[in-house]
């Protein structure tokens, strides 16, 4: 293991940080949110800088980076509260396409995903999935026509096509019988409803009524689980960046805000609070590293509880730290025009993405039970 960024990684990190600083300050972001959509120009910038292709294999037009490069970008995006569908399109959809092993679909879509000219989004979640990828009620009939409803489709507004999980067989929560399908935007029977998130970004709900689709090759559920593992790591990296920035903003505020004739940073109770917040953030960052190590090294079967543990711990840390950051700001922290509350909003939304804390705790507990039962046998 090596915790120091390589020269290339440092350059990547610096270039994203520069973009945030110069082209994505809080006022700019506020205007984007008010406009109700992300900015096509920004997506072009992402593509031109190679960020959209950073962790895709070279033979498919990518730069062959690892999840670490994705995490480096995500962390900076988290600092900037970027609302573009990086997580949904550039991470989740791209990784799902790669994991599917459907070489025809890859050949068709990867170039456009890498150069930013086209976007794919993943429609996997449903009302009663709550983060469990094999809870699927959307049905595919024998002609690969899909019917049902998908929620929380990240990057679903304006996507050119959707990767959709649908059930070809079995009960709603059976692990088997799930296929991965490609649905073109504008397909007959497909209704895409933009649903704004609390954090200012826009996702979509999909209603499918016998929509024509093409089934992709390979094990759809396994591919989705692989892609979700990447997405969870990217989200965790984003939250670590967000917490770090929220602490910096709070420290700046403590240095300037005066009460009782002194800066409030001179109060020991607030000094100790921000120290505890920092310690919690560094623990979360350490957890992110553990998740990345597991994603790189472990069998898919083993890394489930590691990633679930990371999601649970890091989201909890983000909610706690960003909530306290509001508290350190007092009244001003409660306003829409102050950046700090938006870090908290993102942390709240993050819990709902890819399954909440209670689910991930339960996944870890079940893995522990399996381990000990096996050891006893």
């Amino acid at each position: 293991m090596d915790f120091t960024l390589t020269a290339e990684q440092q350059m990547l990190s610096d270039s994203v940080a520069r973009f945030i600083q110069n082209e994505y300050d809080f006022e700019t972001r506020t205007r984007l949110v008010a406009a109700g959509d992300d900015d096509a120009a920004n997506w072009r910038t992402f593509a031109e800088n190679g960020w959209l292709a950073v962790s895709s294999p070279e033979e498919l037009g990518g730069f062959g980076g690892s999840p670490i490069e994705t995490a480096i970008i995500s962390e900076q995006f988290g600092r900037g509260l970027v609302i573009e569908p990086w997580l949904g399109c550039a991470v989740l959809a791209t990784q799902l396409l790669l994991a599917s092993g459907d070489t025809a679909a890859q050949a068709e879509w990867m170039p456009g995903l890498c150069d930013g000219s086209r976007r794919l989004a993943v429609a996997w979640s449903e009302k009663e999935a709550r983060g469990v990828p094999h809870v699927v009620a959307v049905r595919a009939d024998g002609d690969a026509r899909l019917t049902g409803r998908k929620t929380l489709v990240l990057g679903g507004v304006g996507a050119d096509a959707y990767l959709v999980t649908a059930r070809v067989d079995g009960e709603i929560d059976a692990r088997g019988g799930i296929g991965l399908f490609l649905v073109k935007a504008g397909a007959q029977g497909l209704q895409v409803t933009p649903t704004p998130l609390q954090d200012g970004s826009a996702v979509a709900a999909l209603t499918l009524d016998a929509v024509a689709a093409r089934r992709l090759a390979g094990d759809g559920l396994a591919a989705l689980e692989q892609a979700l593992a990447h997405a969870v790591c990217a989200l965790c990296a984003e939250l670590v960046g967000g917490m770090e920035r929220a602490i910096e903003i709070s420290a700046d505020y403590l240095r300037t805000r005066q009460q009782f004739g002194v800066t409030i940073g001179s109060f020991q109770s607030l000094q100790h609070r921000i120290a505890d917040m920092s310690a919690e953030m560094e623990l979360a960052r350490s957890m992110l590293f553990a998740a990345l190590a597991s994603l790189e090294n472990d069998d898919p079967a083993d890394r489930g509880p590691v990633l679930s543990g990371a999601k649970a711990l890091i989201v909890s840390a983000a909610r706690s730290i960003c909530g306290q950051a509001i508290q350190l700001h007092g009244g001003i922290g409660m306003t829409e025009e102050c950046a700090i509350g938006h870090y908290f909003k993102r942390a709240i939304v993050a819990d709902a993405l890819f399954g909440g804390r209670t689910l991930h705790d339960a996944i870890c507990a079940e893995a522990l039970q399996a381990e000990l039962t096996q050891a006893a046998a």
Partner: protein, 384 residues
């Protein structure tokens, strides 16, 4: 000490229930948990209450109130919240009202209280300023006596509902030379007076509750001063001391728990309702237990009503610490329970819960921040 249920209190509860059953119009019933009701609903409901003789449920009989015990008041609040009755105009009833009853001249009282009882005069509170949050006594808004009028200049901030209030009660500095607290006075001002500008502040739940209020050469009749000049700080302490059992928001906490139980039955993972999972059930059960303790702490605090002693005051601060913390944890968990819907601005289920959760972040800031409360407890209990 005894914990026997009080049969007269239970009978009172039945009376309130019957009244609500018979008198609360269906179109006034609100679905959201805690938000302040629309102005019209408040007015209409206030008239109904006044007609019943319940126009001032928190005040003594001598002041035109119901003369209910604190326990009865809690029952009244709880039953109203349970059926979704409109909120009362809390500034008038819980904050300004007791101040008027205690400190106003008969003329002042006659000017304002009948209008409160009719529901026709709504108030807001002008305490905080941009530079004076936790350090309230450092406020800088000036009220200068010129002849028979005070001329007010300055700025207030975080003024809840100023945009729909008719009048404001505020603190202003009437003596620039006096030491911090000593130069502060308590004034009532008509919001329609020239020179007042209200500017909205949008809070993180995306809603407009809060405002900035600017005062530019605002002329206020000298008769609108409550108490003596310079007595404002003492009046404020009296007022804030009445506030703690209210900041606990017990009826709202109970509504949160009821909502958790409903959601636990209706929401599912696959085919399994959340409540059937031990992981969800144990978290809700813990909230239920903690809420039981907070509810008893509210009763204990309420039983001290009027007592300005150290322990009674400190217990109020401790209640604020624990109840606001619980409000925040319960609302975060409620949003967590919503699953995908918890991320949405306009969810299928749980509408209003995310707003509620964001709004509750302010609970540890307003009414004296929790840091200020800890300082109060340390000082009153231990002399630190």
């Amino acid at each position: 000490m005894d914990f026997q249920p009080d049969p007269t209190l239970e009978a009172f509860r039945e009376t309130v229930r019957a009244f609500l059953r018979d008198n609360l119009p269906d179109d006034l019933v609100q679905q959201t948990i805690a938000m302040v009701s629309p102005r019209d609903a408040i007015i209409q409901w206030q008239r109904i209450l006044t007609a019943q003789g319940w126009g001032a449920p928190y005040w003594a009989k001598e002041h035109g109130g119901t003369g209910w015990t604190v326990e009865q008041q809690l029952v009244f609040d709880e039953e109203c919240a349970r059926v979704g009755a409109p909120t009362l105009e809390g500034f008038a009833h819980k904050l300004l009202g007791p101040v008027l009853n205690q400190f106003a001249t008969p003329e002042q009282w006659e000017t304002h209280v009948p209008l409160i009882m009719k529901g026709e005069r709504h108030w807001c509170q002008g305490f905080s300023e941009p530079g004076s949050g936790s350090d309230l006594a450092s406020l800088r808004t000036r009220a200068e006596l010129r002849g028979d009028r005070y001329v007010v200049n300055g700025q207030k901030i975080w003024t809840s509902l100023a945009h729909r209030a008719d009048w404001i009660f505020l603190l202003a500095r009437t003596n620039a030379d006096a030491k911090k607290q000593a130069g502060i006075s308590f004034l009532l001002i008509d919001m329609k007076t020239p020179g007042i500008t209200v500017r909205p502040i949008i809070s993180i739940d995306g809603a407009h509750h809060l405002n900035e209020v600017f005062f530019d050469e605002v002329e206020v009749p000298a008769g609108n001063l409550i108490g003596e000049e310079g007595a404002g700080w003492g009046i404020t302490k009296f007022l804030l001391n009445n506030e703690h059992a209210t900041t606990a928001d017990l009826p709202v906490l109970k509504a949160y728990l009821a909502r958790m139980k409903t959601l636990a039955s209706s929401l599912k993972i696959g085919n399994t309702p959340l409540v059937e999972r031990a992981d969800f059930a144990v978290q809700i059960a813990r909230f239920e237990a903690e809420l039981r303790a907070v509810a008893m702490m509210v009763q204990r605090s309420a039983a001290f009503h009027g007592d300005q002693g150290h322990y009674a005051h400190a217990l109020g601060s401790m209640l604020k610490l624990r109840a606001t913390d619980l409000q925040q944890r319960m609302t975060v968990f409620l949003v967590e329970m919503l699953g995908d819907d918890g991320a949405l601005v306009a969810p299928d289920e749980g509408k209003g819960l995310t707003s509620e959760m964001f709004f509750r972040r302010a609970a540890t800031i307003y009414g004296g921040s929790n840091e200020v409360q800890r300082g109060i407890v340390a000082k009153l209990m231990f002399g630190f």
